[in-house]
């Protein structure tokens, strides 16, 4: 017999649970990727990007990512609805909700720490 699709709930639950860390990963990708590529080109003398622009890019992405995480912390139920997440058993629901919040807080710390470095460091300086 061909049973119905219950991947919706589990995929939704995973995405919902991990939304904070996923934003953190996106943040890391979006600051590290462009920054290291642009610096590689600058160092090789291929482009003339203003280093200040790179710093702004990092800062901008960081602000957006932090705002996004805070939004998910503030309105988790709305996020749940987007992912069509709905756990039937009650202890599961509160379990996943609180785990999601904690993971979001950790992600927020991670994003803030990584982003803050741009305030201190010259974007393309090499340590050698």
């Amino acid at each position: 017999m061909k049973a119905g699709n219950d991947n919706g709930p589990i995929a939704g639950a995973i995405l919902f649970l991990l939304i904070g860390p996923i934003i953190w990963a996106a943040h890391l990708l979006l600051v590290y990727g462009p920054q290291s590529a642009l610096c590689a080109f600058r160092i090789a003398g291929r482009t003339q990007v203003d280093p200040w622009l790179i710093s702004m890019l990092v800062a901008g992405v960081t602000v957006i990512a932090m705002a996004a995480v805070m939004l998910t912390l503030w309105r988790p139920r709305r996020v749940a609805r987007i992912f069509r997440f709905d756990a039937a058993a009650n202890d599961n629901r509160s379990f996943i909700l609180s785990s999601m919040r904690w993971l979001g807080v950790l992600a927020l710390i991670g994003i803030a720490l990584a982003g803050a470095t741009t305030l201190i460091l010259d974007p393309c300086a090499q340590l050698r």
């Binding site: 017999m1 061909k2 709930p9 756990a87 379990f95 609180s98 990584a114």
Partner: protein
């Protein structure tokens, strides 16, 4: 506690006569030498952990030999070349053949028991993975005896490992041997993900899952995403060594840093892949010894998930000294600090649990090892935060400080919990307990030996002694510290030896050990036999054995679910992934030769390829595929067994296809693995472009072929997908055949092969060669990845067609088809993306 059978349990007792005997017969262990055909998790799990431990011993002997060489300056007990091979084989064996397999083995051995399942969902897959590992691993290790062992260090950095600098087959043994063992680890991971999510007992919702199951779930998910990166890297390095595609050669636009990125994208999570399951084991043992539920269950789950996830954002901290811009390093330094938070949470939870028990924390050998772990691991964590700071790392990079740090983390974080596990779970896997008296000696020898050996290395490192040196001049003042380290290693070795003696004296594999000797609360301590538990309990809390009095008895008497074997074969219960509601009864294969033979020939294929015996190797490869097909033929049993009653008025199907079947899930997991392999490729492509855009088309290489070529390839792919969708509609009613089905499958596979041909021909016509430069190598590598999937689908398609002609494929019995269709659509998706990248990107930037 009342002892009468309760009327609200799913099944009535006494159970019908002969039921128990039937269970015993169905699950019986094969006798005599046929034991090698067994697939049951308790038996192959024991083999798995046993062999992993053997590798620990053998790599440990290498370590002692190395320490002997280093005991004094200017020593020449072991020469330089052998020393290089030794640390490479020691590190590689410890990481790939001991640490990861050992925890995976515990997953195979303990997970089903903790979930009260009869077995993992794919017993033959585990058997295959384990045999492949045993054979491949032993051959790999034995290379040290023939001077054939790799010597490039456990992370095998090019350019040192390129053909120019490492001629001979030594490096190839690493690349093919380890690449192959990673595939076996992935097979095990698929098993564990599906097992943890789908074979939990009714009532065990996610919020009630034992911590070890959580940690194994995260362990397996991490393997899914981390291992593909290093598999791609080993593929590329092997291709460069054999065929000269310059991925890592700077002169042709490659970059050896690409290897470092890919390796550490795997290598850092690897540390947590090893540590998280060990932490999960500690979280299971601590409550038992403290006689109170774990404090902060939720926090621990959160910490496990967070560590698992964030550990993927740390890899660059292994590359601090490679000239990457400081700001990039800072991102990863920050993440390295952040990941320390969840590890800290776990440590506090354990300490709180130890303190919270109303009765005293029981000091057993297992608890001693746990306390030792806390002590050693915390020190390792502290030095970890030190080396995560860029300026400090510049000072101690590649010195003995780092050797001390990672041994504190690895031995503290994994070996000590493992020994605790041995003492704690031995009565579960065997008939008797290990000796508590000897155990204390084992602990104190290992604990003191470890610290005496490794603590001084922090100092030798700070005094500037580099790692990976076979000897050093005596006048540098490193002698005394090194001698102390060597003495400590021998004390540690004595502890391990004593443990082996304890094992020989007291460990007896088999059933019927003391029942729940530690008065633990989790399901693996239910009474069990070859069939695992007599019936599958309904779980209402995290420590069912503490909270449900009489549970052991009711389970044993068969008052819970599925106390029999209604389909007449091996089976277990599949439940829904979040709420653990019973969904169906899965029919599982029994013992057989095919997994073993498939593993032998797969190993032979890879190993013979290493020594360039191409023809025999291909014959072995074909045999391996043949045995896989024989094995797969027996799967997909079809719906003939109808519905069965598992008790409590619940009737479940014995066959399910579609998105809720376990094989569909396995396919999805496999697609994630393939997807992350492909993402690593996309990363590599873009990375090499940033390094050497001057080799990229259209200026540095022939312009990509006219758009007509990729368009034709894409059309063929889409046509193939459409054919598969059509075929699904055309599947014949049960018990019949329809010629259109095999024809359509054949055409779909032909479309795929045609598309690959068009793609290759297009590039070839422009005069692009894979050996010319990094761009060419990357373009053809994309086609190679496509070709890999196409090859799989040629075989899979043929298999599906054969199923149809055998009358084993129709609208009802369709799991084989569904899986093939999933893989097909995935291949089309990946290849369309690949066409856009390879043909679009040069046009975009050119």
């Amino acid at each position: 506690m009342e002892n009468q059978p309760r009327s609200d349990l799913p099944n009535k007792t006494p159970r019908p006569k002969g039921e128990l005997e039937e269970l015993k017969r169905i699950w019986a262990t094969p006798r005599g030498w046929r034991i090698v055909t067994t697939v049951n998790n308790t038996e192959i799990g024991l083999l798995y952990i046993g062999v992993a431990f053997l590798f620990f011993l053998m790599a440990g002997v290498l370590a002692l030999l190395m320490r002997t060489q280093l005991a004094t300056g200017n020593n020449d007990f072991i020469g330089q070349e052998l020393y290089n091979q030794m640390f490479t084989v020691h590190g590689t064996t410890m990481m790939f053949l001991f640490a990861v397999p050992a925890v995976e083995a515990l997953g195979v051995l303990l997970l089903p028991q903790m979930l009260a399942a009869r077995d993992l969902p794919f017993p033959r897959l585990s058997a295959f993975a384990i045999w492949a590992y045993v054979i491949g691993g032993l051959v790999f290790f034995s290379t040290i005896l023939y001077d054939l062992a790799p010597d490039g260090g456990w992370f095998m950095y090019p350019p040192l490992t390129l053909k120019e600098y490492s001629p001979g087959d030594n490096a190839d043994f690493w690349l093919l041997g380890i690449g192959f063992i990673e595939i076996s680890a992935i097979a095990g991971a698929i098993e564990i993900v599906v097992g943890a999510l789908r074979t939990r007992p009714p009532g065990m919702t996610l919020a009630k899952m034992p911590i070890f199951a959580w940690s194994m779930l995260i362990f397996a998910s991490m393997i899914m995403f981390a291992f593909p990166a290093v598999i791609l890297a080993t593929m590329m390095l092997e291709i460069e060594r054999s065929f000269g595609w310059p991925f890592f050669t700077a002169a042709k636009g490659g970059d050896s840093l690409l290897w470092q990125h890919l390796f550490w994208f795997f290598g850092h999570p690897e540390v947590y892949i090893i540590f998280l399951p060990a932490a999960g084991l500690v979280s299971m043992m601590v409550p038992t010894m403290a006689r109170t539920p774990l404090v902060g269950y939720r926090l621990i789950v959160i910490a496990l998930i967070a560590t698992g996830f964030f550990s993927f954002g740390l890899w660059v901290h292994h590359m601090f000294t490679t000239g990457i811009p400081a700001l990039s390093l800072a991102f990863f330094s920050a993440a390295s600090m952040a990941v320390a938070i969840p590890s800290g949470i776990q440590v506090f939870s354990w300490i709180a649990t130890i303190a919270a028990g109303r009765k005293k924390f029981r000091i057993t050998t297992a608890s001693l090892f746990i306390l030792g772990f806390l002590f050693i691991f915390t020190i390792g964590g502290l030095t970890g935060v030190m080396v995560a700071m860029v300026p400090f790392d510049f000072q101690v990079h590649d010195t003995y400080f780092v050797v001390a740090h990672f041994h504190y983390v690895l031995v503290g974080g994994m070996v000590f919990p493992l020994f605790a596990t041995f003492y704690y779970w031995a009565p579960q896997a065997g008939r008797s307990m290990l000796s508590e008296r000897l155990g204390r000696w084992v602990f104190w020898l290992m604990f003191s030996g470890f610290n005496i050996a490794f603590f001084p290395m922090h100092l030798t490192g700070l005094r500037g002694m580099p790692r990976r040196v076979w000897t050093y001049p005596s006048e540098l003042g490193w002698d005394t510290l090194n001698l102390i380290s060597t003495i400590g290693s021998y004390i540690l070795g004595a502890g391990v030896l004593l443990f082996v003696i304890d094992l020989v004296l007291h460990f007896r594999p088999g059933r019927g050990g003391p029942e729940n000797p530690w008065q633990a609360g989790t399901l693996e301590w239910l009474p069990n036999d070859v069939y695992s538990n007599r019936s599958i309990p309904l779980v209402t809390s995290r420590e069912p054995l503490w909270d449900q009095p009489n549970l052991a008895d009711d389970v044993k008497e068969g008052r819970y679910y599925l106390p029999n074997a209604p389909t007449g074969g091996r089976e277990t219960l599949v439940t829904s992934p979040i709420d653990a509601k019973p969904q169906y009864v899965i029919q599982m294969p029994t013992s057989g030769w095919s997994p073993l033979l498939a593993a032998i020939f797969t190993a032979a294929f890879f190993l013979l390829l290493t020594v360039k015996l191409v023809t025999i190797s291909i014959v072995c490869g074909i045999l391996a595929i043949a045995f896989c097909l024989i094995w797969a033929w027996a799967l997909d049993p079809g719906p003939s067994k109808g519905l069965v009653d598992i008790g409590g008025g619940i009737s479940l199907p014995t066959y399910v296809s579609g998105p809720s079947s376990h094989s569909w899930w396995a396919m999805i997991v496999l697609m994630f693995v393939a997807g992350s392999l492909y993402l690593s490729y996309v990363f590599s492509y873009l990375f090499l472009w940033t390094v050497s855009p001057d080799t990229w088309a259209p200026s540095g290489s022939p312009a990509p072929p006219d758009l007509g070529w990729p368009a034709a390839a894409a059309l063929l792919l889409l046509a193939g997908s459409a054919l598969i969708v059509l075929t699904e509609r055309m599947l014949p009613p049960a018990g019949t055949k329809r010629m259109a089905v095999p024809i359509a499958i054949f055409l779909a596979v032909a479309c795929l092969v045609g598309s690959l041909g068009v793609e290759l021909a297009g590039h070839w016509r422009t005069g692009l060669s894979p050996t010319a430069n990094a761009y060419g190598a990357m373009v053809y590598m994309g086609a190679a990845l496509f070709g890999q999937l196409a090859f799989t689908l040629v075989i899979f398609g043929g298999f599906t067609i054969a199923r149809h002609f055998a009358g084993k494929l129709d609208r009802e019995r369709r799991v084989t088809f569904d899986n093939m269709a999933l893989l097909y659509h995935y291949t089309v998706g990946q290849s369309l993306f690949g066409l856009a990248l390879v043909h679009g990107f040069p046009r975009l930037v050119g």
